[in-house]
Symmetry: D2
Subunit: 313 residues, 4 copies
């Protein structure tokens, strides 16, 4: 069974600039790094890392990964994709630092993804098995927002209805809300975790990454994000918000990293069981109240997207 | 598959006094009522009610209910409890207002519970199927905290190790954290939802309810709870907190309704997959940092509990 | 000695629509009303009212009032304005409900103002002189943001340098910050209270009201303002923000009442003694970081203003 | 004219331990230090320092200082104290780093105080006179709460009525609220700034410091204070709260530094003009709702105080 979005890999062209942005300003915790990568997590996470920054000639989505509840699910997924005629690659334990064996595919809409079960956990016990400490949000040595945990990815696809054939019908993702426009589905929010979404699918010319979202404690931390970015000279990184989404109820700020990768700082969506029927928005309602509950327009550059990894398999 | 804690029923001796407390001061939304009941929910919930107040000669726990993902799970659970030798009662659709068929048992540690799948949902669509509105937290007609959604129940049991034989081993609840004391388990936090707990089990002389918890948006709403209660003359209802739990990281306030039923106003625990190993606390760590991360003592009356329904089946 | 901004009068064309906006949605406390007026205050104020809504054929500024520390200051101000050749009117005790004698002028830049000392206070004592209660922010019967207290007015003037001749040099207001543009003062924030401003002066074609500001507890209440307005169907009232000012450090949201009167919901400026030298902004710094610390542009309609009372004396 | 409380000097026995507490954990900004002193300020302050930690053989109050609006006020105060028969010492410009000339006395109730006008300001301009930046709360290099600015000192005196003869009648401090007990004044909150207090006076056996208070942005920062202290191993420093005062409406946490000096982290009192009549509390009201609006008791050690400087003149 697929449990949730587990981690993402973003391409960046300059690791040092990326570290300044993600670690020094936003307050991601750095687990490890090497010449090609920086491994980060939010302060409420038990996985050693949920965001990998990889040095690359272009920015965008390296891949994202979905955690399964049972190691044997990887076999079931391999079998299932074989039946669907979707090529996959098996990646052995340790090929990605801290991660067990995984199954990699390019999903039918063009996005590089993988399924995995085992992931290295942060060290919360001493040698005798006694708890040292839980990961705690408010530590006296931390700076930044800080981000709590990974929440979702937002993808562009050529056809949302076609994308749902895979995500909803094959992978059993539940649609929480969707937008209908001109007789087709314009956007759909899908999830395995009972929040509003793990993977959002929005119609565009083809596969692309719109944003990766991390949750924070509340609206105060979202305002703090903008204040911190402005203080550190990243005013151009503040793209859209803070605002309240109608769809999902969540409070948000969209920001851009030095390579233009967009991140949503996000808080406060609702929980709803996966078997519940989806909420439908008309285009009119969505465009006037769904995207921004407060009714205002969004900036032009919010439509820009980032490419996805062309060399995943 | 059991998904989560769904709702609770609390016994109160005076419905009008209870309404003033829960609706007028705390800001629960009242779905419906009759001469014997008031049906309430938090403002982020899609179920029409998650808290039923029932007039009774003594206060305490009427029952609590666990939602299953599939109607057929009720058959599986009936079969399973039969094998365990635990008597059950089948309750037909509508026997509880808004609720489908359910299976009622007194679990082996003495608490009245039920399993159900179908529950009436709030009306968010107009006649043409178009979304009227999502349940929104900040409405201009609301007063109170407001509470967002049900989170967990905290029970007293004669033996936590014995209780885990049922909750962990038979119902497949995952233990997130537990406390060891004098060679036995003193307390365990168990869950089917990936938060820290749906059902907490703490050692005492026997079956009893310690508290029911509802989540709020953040610490500001917890402070607001105390401010509202004091303003409305319920200073005696403010029992313990606000404070930060070490165990769960959550921020809390414990309050008492006019009948002495204890409610925890709760925010900010972490998420962790159900297959992860539990966190173990020694008694020393738990009593000095686990209960209250800030290290202070708790008031004597925090140990008081409420009886559970003696006439469930 | 002038102490602070005391209250304002806004013209509205429909009192019932205004009440819905200010009382039912924003949560101003209504002290009293008659056929022509509604008298309001914020929840932290001891004056019975600090905002008077007056029915009028056009919207805009009725007048604003400055409180003096000593009743005799009214005589001194009368003498001083006589010397300056500025006509004044003496208004007797009670001519404005709850207010003592006042001195009315149209200040040299065209704005209707008055000076007063005595103002009716809310009733916080019982018959025996014992405190009933302080005005408390969080009452269980209140809805809305709520606004705490009046903070400042923002005016348009034909020449800021000329306006400072009156406000700074004659009334002894202290300039906290100002903007220089093309060799003249473009804007100046002036105060008698040690916050950043009681009266802001900004260059335009002539006398006009830009906005009246009320403080709230913190950024959460500013977000709540937008959420409440959207919930009540006032999405068009949400004009600009939420955002952080560079100048003043304050967090803000600009909203419009049903008549187009602009209100700033405001929190978090700094305190600085009145004898301190002003902070100077270049136009470049002000337009890129001073107005909005986060660097973003403001919407076109934010430049619109409201007329001022043409029949004050 | 006395404007406000300007700064305090606290005695500490170990400067390094004090720096860890005040700078590394709480987030005070360190302006400067030498072998005997550390000079600190809150993040919203323009004075280079408002808290001086001085190495001493015992902990407690070194002195506190009141800012006057005019340098000539120092002469007037010297003359006035001479008439009162209170000895004073004149301290030249620079005797305290960054401070102009001052007048030192031991006030009639035994506390070491000084009056001053000039104080070094933080550097917010570049060489050409252009603003570099305002002191901003949310900088990406800061850790800690952070504290915003000094608010008040709370003193113990042998007789509050006698103390008011000096503070209210001679120094013209305004009483905002007071408590009557057994026919005398048990406590009085006095101020020159229009908040609730600069100097609080509470009956005890004689002169002593109860606490120094710094304001923070809101309740979230007060919770953060406890979280940060617990995280850094200072659980014993968390003494009382967080809670809401009835008197002043403020939200608070009392903490102890490594030497036992008590600090109140404070937010949200009201503003009221100095000429307004004081609010009177009976002992019954004060002890059940005034100290803590929520009605709970306070811990025993909250009565402990610190000595004051015995060598001030």
């Amino acid at each position: 069974m697929i449990l949730r979005l587990g981690h993402t890999e973003l391409f960046v062209t300059d690791l040092e600039k990326a570290r300044e942005f993600y670690v020094d300003v936003l307050g991601f915790r750095e687990h490890d790094s090497d010449k090609q990568h920086i491994y980060l997590r939010g302060v409420d996470e038990f996985d050693t890392h949920t965001l990998t920054l990889t040095k690359n000639s272009y920015s965008g989505l390296g891949h994202f990964a979905l955690r399964v509840s049972d190691p044997e699910d990887l076999e079931r997924l391999a079998y299932h994709h074989k039946k669907l005629g979707i090529p996959y690659t098996r990646v052995p334990d340790g090929a990605e630092p801290g991660q067990g064996a995984s199954l990699r595919i390019v999903e039918p809409n063009g996005h590089p993804i993988e399924f995995y079960h085992d992931m290295q956990q942060i060290d919360i016990f001493d040698e005798t098995g006694r708890l040292k400490r839980l990961p705690m949000r408010f530590t006296h040595t931390d700076k930044g927002i800080p981000p709590l945990r990974i929440d979702h990815v937002n993808l562009r696809v050529a056809s949302v209805d076609k994308a749902l054939n895979y995500w909803r019908d094959e992978l059993n993702f539940s649609v929480s809300e969707y937008v209908e426009r001109d007789g087709e589905t314009f956007a759909a929010w899908t999830r395995r975790f009972p929040g509003t979404h793990d993977v959002a699918l929005v119609k565009a010319s083809g596969a692309a990454l719109h944003h990766v979202a991390y949750t924070v404690q509340g609206p105060a931390e979202i305002i703090r994000t903008a204040d911190l970015l402005a203080d550190a000279g990243y005013q151009d990184s503040i793209e859209y918000g803070p605002g309240r989404h109608g769809l999902s109820n969540a409070f948000f700020l969209y920001i851009r990293d030095p390579d233009g990768n967009r991140m949503e700082i996000y808080t406060g969506d609702y929980l709803r069981d996966l078997d519940m029927p989806p909420v439908k928005w008309t285009w009119e309602d969505y465009s006037t109240r769904g995207r921004l509950w407060w009714g205002a327009a969004h900036p032009e550059r919010f439509q820009e997207t980032r490419p996805v990894n062309q060399n995943w398999l």
